[in-house]
Symmetry: C2
Subunit: 395 residues, 2 copies
């Protein structure tokens, strides 16, 4: 029996992979259990349904052995020009890499991709872990690869990227000149080749894309992997397809796909998602994290000067200050700003009366009469120094 393209198979990939033709796959993406030694459960918001899978193992050895035999099979299924991406984290990543080197060959190791994201912090001793690792191997030196370009760093100057350079008699690099003494310009510039550290937002717990499957990966991540090493019409295989993100991404990008999962629930969910493949978008994904940045450097340094915490996403609040009466939100008023307008903004912000006190941090000398008026009318504190603030708080 032969696995059809664009299908999702229920079963352990150790058996299911035998139904896939040898040397027929362009990209294999594996997102196996990470050796977290725990059960993963995620319930739908309304509690109606829950998905779970077990990530408990007898030993590290048995886990690596489990992967080993499956990777050997995967290797067989890859075209000579194909690539394999394995997603893991620090739980067992290094042992996996040593095994991959053995099975796929150290010379075929292309990249250690770091997927980094911001997520909710849990205060613990040590560094907050906010990355996972993806190992990128090709089957041979002659693998398919589509160069992707990123923007230049903002600190790069045009002259430098546009002008061709040569070496002078002292072997120093200098700008090339033509016979007239004019600079020689580059014919084409596309940007910087994509690096191996990818800052891609973690799937927000509330994102529409979410289907309540534990360890669901953002489509954007799969998107990038698929476009790096495949062309339209190529076949993508995911032996641990889970909620089917890889398959959905492949379908959206006009690639064929084969998904495999041991769990019947996972297969059902994948098939359901594939009927209506959606890629969620958000301001964060489209415009980038910096589009949320509101404060300019003058405001930020004012916040820092008084030891405050910077707040970006609220029109009325520039920072938070720790005081005797708890955290106090404040807005910075620069010379030239309309102080009345600022008073209104901070008063309206966080409407639900969450804060006992709010403050305006004036960076210039405000007239005493105006201070009094604003403080009364808006129930605010206007301050220019920290001691002034704490004095006014004490009253």
């Amino acid at each position: 029996m032969q696995a059809k393209p664009d299908s999702v198979i229920k079963g352990d990939c150790l058996e299911a992979l035998n139904t896939v033709a040898d040397e027929s796959i362009d990209l294999i993406y594996l997102d196996p259990p990470f050796f977290s030694q725990r059960e993963h459960i995620l319930a739908k918001r309304d509690g109606s349904e829950e998905f779970r899978f077990s990530d408990n193992w007898e030993s590290l050895n048995s886990y690596i052995q489990f992967l080993n035999v499956r990777i050997e099979l995967c290797k067989k299924k890859l075209k000579p020009t194909g690539s394999l991406f394995l997603h893991c984290d620090r739980s067992a990543g290094h042992y996996i890499k040593v095994m991959l080197d053995e099975v796929l060959g150290r010379e075929n190791f292309q990249s250690e991709i770091i997927w980094t994201y911001r997520r909710w912090s849990n205060s613990k001793k040590g560094l907050l872990s906010n990355h996972q690792t993806i190992f990128f191997y090709s089957k041979s030196a002659d693998f398919k690869f589509n160069q992707i370009f990123d923007a230049y760093s903002p600190s790069t100057n045009v002259d430098q990227i546009m002008q061709l350079r040569v070496r002078d008699f002292r072997n120093k690099t200098v700008y090339q000149k033509d016979n007239n003494g004019d600079s020689v310009l580059a014919a084409e510039k596309k940007g910087v080749p994509l690096g191996d550290v990818w800052d891609i937002p973690f799937l927000n717990p509330k994102a529409k894309e979410r289907v309540s499957y534990p360890t669901q990966k953002p489509i954007l991540l799969l998107d990038r992997i698929i476009s790096l090493v495949t062309h339209p019409g190529d076949i993508v295989l995911d032996p641990f397809c889970g909620s089917g993100t890889t398959l959905v991404a492949a379908k959206i990008m006009n690639r064929s796909y084969i998904g495999i999962d041991r769990s019947g629930d996972a297969v059902k969910l994948s098939l359901k998602r594939l009927q209506n493949p959606v890629k969620s978008s958000s301001k964060l994904l489209e415009k980038g994290r910096d589009s949320y940045r509101k404060n300019n450097s003058e405001i930020e340094s004012a916040v820092k000067e008084v030891g405050g915490v910077t707040v970006q996403r609220n029109k009325g609040i520039d920072g938070l200050l720790k005081t005797e009466v708890g955290m106090v939100p404040f807005k910075v008023v620069l010379s030239g700003d309309d102080i009345l307008n600022h008073a209104q903004l901070i008063s309206k912000s966080s409407s639900k009366n969450k804060f006992k006190k709010r403050a305006l941090f004036a960076r210039y000398k405000v007239k005493t009469g105006e201070v009094k008026k604003i403080e009364n009318e808006f129930n605010l504190i206007v301050f220019t120094t920290l001691s002034e603030l704490s004095e006014k708080l004490r009253i």
Copy 2:
């Protein structure tokens, strides 16, 4: 013989470490050769001198063995509350980690720190590697650790930061309410705990901090490591001290230090740097990479729309376009902008007549008369579509 604090010892650390008292060190930072299988050479700017070290090995096994015996020694020298940081890259990092787990205990592995940076690129098949790895192990569960806080992500909103949260009956997180149904505010917020992906600028080739030693690390990186796990007065040990960056950072932060290196040149250089410890500062370090960013999202999306490359560091140029006559710089004119002013800016940019043609990309309907006038006066092309640009270029 006993190694004195604040000293630099010439010799292989395998022997030199024996002069260090057992359980006396708070932090060991190791930056050994990475198994790059090549010689690292760097000459001084004036060519007067050169520093080199060899990173050639018989086999991966002999390299790991070399490290193994030295790490065992290091472990002995660490205080029970001490930590060890090992710097490496993907050449052998995964094999090192497996060995470290064995020597220091998997339970004492704290973090895989990713040091990421931007650097020169090179057109190659595959992803541009722009990270190195630092493994962070403690000697015991009871290790010294100073929590460091980062700024909140710009997309974080105040309500999230300030309101306490609890888990509801389904174990989902919800905002905590008091008896009146009002939100309960957090007492103090310092920011997000520092993560394990560190974006720290690579030591720039032009930086004054450079001392012409190959593979020199930025002081800022060591700064962060030292402040994470030591207090003033503690002892920092670097068994592969090279140019002495670790020792300089330790000295600046009032920690004691012991450096070891096989090369007499390295020891001499370290001692010299320690006489006058300097930490370089720059606009990038102080204000951040975004301080170079000039274009807003409206301009950037205009540049993207015509397939251009964004330019940030030039007042007169917003982007570059590939055309039949080579790359053409252009500036975006939004409705409401002063088009004459923009024409002046782009004309003045890159003064030395480097570009054959410059253009203004008008995002609104400019009067035909005004277009003619600007094109003649400033020798510019004004366009609203790509086809208009290429048509005008053909003439």
